[in-house]
C-alpha cells in the first residue's frame, strides 16, 4: 500500500499561474524518491504541501491512511511528528548545543507544558545520543551549533528529524550548500536511513546526477507539473531536457554516466 498519495494537488499562491497544477503520484513505504526540476518549478512548494506547511488550493493528500489535507489542528500536529524535514540551510538554533537541537525533534510528542519546560525523559536523551553517535557527531554533542561546519550542521538536522521516529523524511535540497565531500557523506547517510531503517524519503535535488545515483525513483517537475515519474534507468536525455527546459540541452550529461560514479 502507498504510504503517501497525492491526488490532483493544485496550489495557487496569489496569481493566475499555479505553482503546482494537478500533481498526482504515490510513494510506497521505504522508497527513496528524488524530485528534480529547474528553479521555480515548485519543488519546495510540493514538499511543504505534504506536511501542510503550505495549504493546498485543491486536490487531496493521503498519508499513512489519513487524509492529510483535511486534518484539524491537533491531528495535524500528530501528522507532523511522523514526518521529519531537512533543509538546505539546516535551520538549527545556532546558539544552542547539538544535543538541545536534536531534542527539539521530540517537542511534537509532548504536552505544551512539558515542552515549554523542556522535560525530556532519560529514554529520549539516550535515543538522541544514539542517533548523534550514528551520524558521527559524538565529539560535538555539547558544542554550540554555530561552531559546526555545514556538513556537521546538516547531520544535526538529520538527527533532529530521526529523533522524531518518523515514517517519512522530506529533504529540501539537503546538499545545495555543501561541497562534494560533505554532500557525499550526507547522501550516504540518507541512503542508510532509507535502507536500514526503512524510512521513506522524498528529496528535492538540484544535481540530477546525484538523484540518478541514489534514488529508487525520480519525479521530474517543470512549471508545477509532473513531467516524469519513473525509475532512474528510464530517464532519457530527451526527458531530462523536458524537465529542465530545452535551452539547457548542452548542459546535460549523458544518463549513461550514472553507472560510472
Amino acid at each position: 500500500m502507498a504510504l503517501l498519495e497525492l491526488k490532483n494537488v493544485t496550489k495557487y499562491y496569489n496569481n493566475a499561474t499555479p505553482a503546482l497544477s494537478e500533481v498526482s503520484f504515490e510513494v510506497r513505504e521505504g522508497e527513496f524518491v528524488s524530485v528534480i526540476g529547474p528553479s521555480g518549478a515548485g519543488k519546495s512548494t510540493l514538499l511543504r504541501c505534504i506536511n501542510r506547511m503550505i495549504e493546498v488550493s485543491g486536490g487531496e493528500i493521503y498519508f499513512d491512511g489519513v487524509i492529510a489535507s483535511k486534518l484539524r489542528k491537533r491531528d495535524l500536529r500528530k501528522l507532523r511528528t511522523k514526518i521529519g524535514m531537512i533543509f538546505q540551510h539546516y535551520n538549527l538554533v545556532d546558539r544552542l548545543t547539538v544535543l538541545e537541537n536534536v531534542l527539539h525533534g521530540r517537542l511534537g510528542y509532548k504536552s505544551t507544558l512539558a515542552g515549554v519546560l523542556g522535560r525530556y525523559s532519560e529514554e529520549e536523551k539516550k535515543q538522541a545520543l544514539e542517533i548523534i553517535k550514528l551520524l558521527g557527531l559524538t565529539d560535538q554533542v555539547y558544542k554550540r551549533c554555530d561552531q559546526l561546519s555545514g556538513g556537521q550542521k546538516q547531520r544535526v538536522g538529520i538527527a533532529r528529524a530521526l529523533v522524531q521516529n518518523p515514517k517519512m523524511i522530506l529533504c529540501d535540497e539537503p546538499i545545495a550548500s555543501l561541497d562534494p565531500n560533505a554532500s557525499k557523506i550526507i547522501m550516504d547517510h540518507l541512503r542508510n536511513i532509507s535502507r536500514e531503517m526503512g524510512i521513506t524519503l522524498v528529496v528535492n535535488l538540484h544535481q540530477f546526477n546525484v538523484a540518478l545515483k541514489y534514488s529508487d525513483r525520480i519525479i521530474g517537475v517543470n512549471k508545477g507539473m509532473v513531467v516524469f515519474d519513473g525509475a532512474p534507468e528510464d530517464l532519457s536525455a530527451e526527458q531530462i531536457s523536458d524537465i529542465y527546459g530545452s535551452e539547457s540541452g548542452d548542459l546535460i550529461i549523458e544518463p549513461g554516466e550514472k553507472n560510472a560514479s
Partner: protein, 291 residues
C-alpha cells in the same frame, strides 16, 4: 558580444567628455529653498533676541563677582564637607536601597509584561496586524517622558510611590518591548518553520528556541533599563514624592536648605550610579559583540 563591446566604449566616452555635469550649476550646492530660508530667519531672530536680553537684564542688587564667589563657596561646602544632621550614613544608605527597590520593582514588572508584548511584537512570531498594533502603541508610550506618565497616574493614585511605580513600569514596558522584540526577531523565520514542521507548537517553540537563544540579550537589555530606572527613581522621589533618596534630596535642598546634606546624598547617588554604570558598560559590550 558586440553589445558588451559597445557598452565598454560607452564608458570611455563618459570619461572623455565628462558630460554628466553638463548644464548643471555646480556653485549652487545648497540652493536657497523655502525651508532653509525660514531656518535662517529664525536663527537671526533668536540671536537678536538673545543680545537684546543680555543688555536689558535687571541685575537689581546682585553683585555679579560676589555671586560667583558665593556659588563657588557653596559648591565647596557641598562637595568638601558632606555631612548630615538629620540621618546617619546608614540611614542614608537605607534610603538609597529604597530607591533601588523602586527601580528594581518597576524593571521587574516591566520585564514580565514586556516579555509577552515582545513576543507579540516580533514579526517572526505573531501576525503582522498584531505586531504593528503593539509597535505603534508602544512607540506612543515611549514618546511621552516617564515623569509625565507618573504625573498622569498621580491624578488617579495621588502623588507618591504608587503613581511612580505605575508610571515607571509603563515606560519600562514600552522600552523593553521594543528591545525584546528586536532580539526575538534575530531568530530566523526558517528555524521556526523547521520546529513547526516537526510538530512543536507556538509556546514550545518560544520557550525552547526563541527565549534560550536570545537570553543573554534579554538580560543585558533588562539591566540597561534597571540603570535608567535608578536615575528615574531618584528623580521621582524628588518630583513625585515617591520616597527614597530622591525625596531626601528634595527635602534637604528645598525645605531644610542643608548644603552639606546635599553633598552627602549626591556622593551616595554617584557611588551607586557608577557601580551600575560599570556593570551596564560590560553588558553593552556584550550587546555590541552580537553577530
Amino acid at each position: 558580444m558586440t553589445q558588451i563591446e559597445e557598452s565598454i566604449k560607452g564608458w570611455g566616452r563618459l570619461k572623455e567628455k565628462g558630460h554628466i555635469n553638463d548644464g548643471m550649476d555646480l556653485s549652487a550646492v545648497k540652493p536657497l529653498n523655502k525651508s532653509s530660508l525660514a531656518m535662517r530667519i529664525i536663527l537671526l531672530f533668536l540671536s537678536v533676541l538673545t543680545i537684546y536680553a543680555l543688555f536689558t537684564i535687571d541685575y537689581k542688587s546682585i553683585d555679579v563677582p560676589k555671586a560667583f564667589a558665593d556659588t563657588i563657596s557653596n559648591f565647596k561646602t557641598i562637595f568638601l564637607h558632606p555631612y548630615s544632621h538629620r540621618f546617619s550614613l546608614w540611614e542614608a544608605f537605607y534610603e538609597v536601597v529604597v530607591t533601588i527597590g523602586l527601580a528594581f520593582l518597576t524593571t521587574l514588572f516591566g520585564a514580565v509584561i514586556a516579555l509577552l508584548f515582545g513576543l507579540l511584537a516580533a514579526q517572526n512570531l505573531a501576525p503582522k496586524q498584531v505586531t504593528n498594533m503593539i509597535k505603534a502603541f508602544v512607540a506612543f508610550i515611549r514618546a511621552v517622558p516617564t515623569i509625565l506618565w507618573v504625573l498622569i497616574f498621580a491624578v488617579a493614585a495621588g502623588l507618591g510611590s504608587a503613581a511612580a511605580v505605575i508610571g515607571m513600569t509603563f515606560h519600562s514596558v514600552s522600552y523593553l518591548t521594543k528591545a525584546y522584540s528586536e532580539s526575538f526577531e534575530d531568530l530566523d523565520r526558517n528555524v521556526l518553520e523547521a520546529l513547526t514542521a516537526s510538530g512543536a507548537n507556538w509556546w514550545q517553540i518560544v520557550f525552547q528556541a526563541v527565549i534560550p537563544s536570545s537570553a543573554t540579550y534579554l538580560l543585558s537589555w533588562t539591566f540597561l533599563r534597571f540603570e535608567i530606572n535608578f536615575a528615574n527613581a531618584v528623580a521621582m522621589g524628588a518630583a513625585a514624592g515617591a520616597a527614597g533618596i530622591g525625596f531626601d534630596l528634595f527635602m534637604a535642598s528645598e525645605f531644610y536648605f542643608d548644603l552639606r546634606e546635599i553633598g552627602l546624598i549626591t556622593y551616595l547617588i554617584l557611588a551607586f550610579a557608577i557601580a551600575l554604570e560599570t556593570i551596564s558598560l560590560r553588558m553593552k559590550g556584550r550587546l555590541h559583540k552580537r553577530t
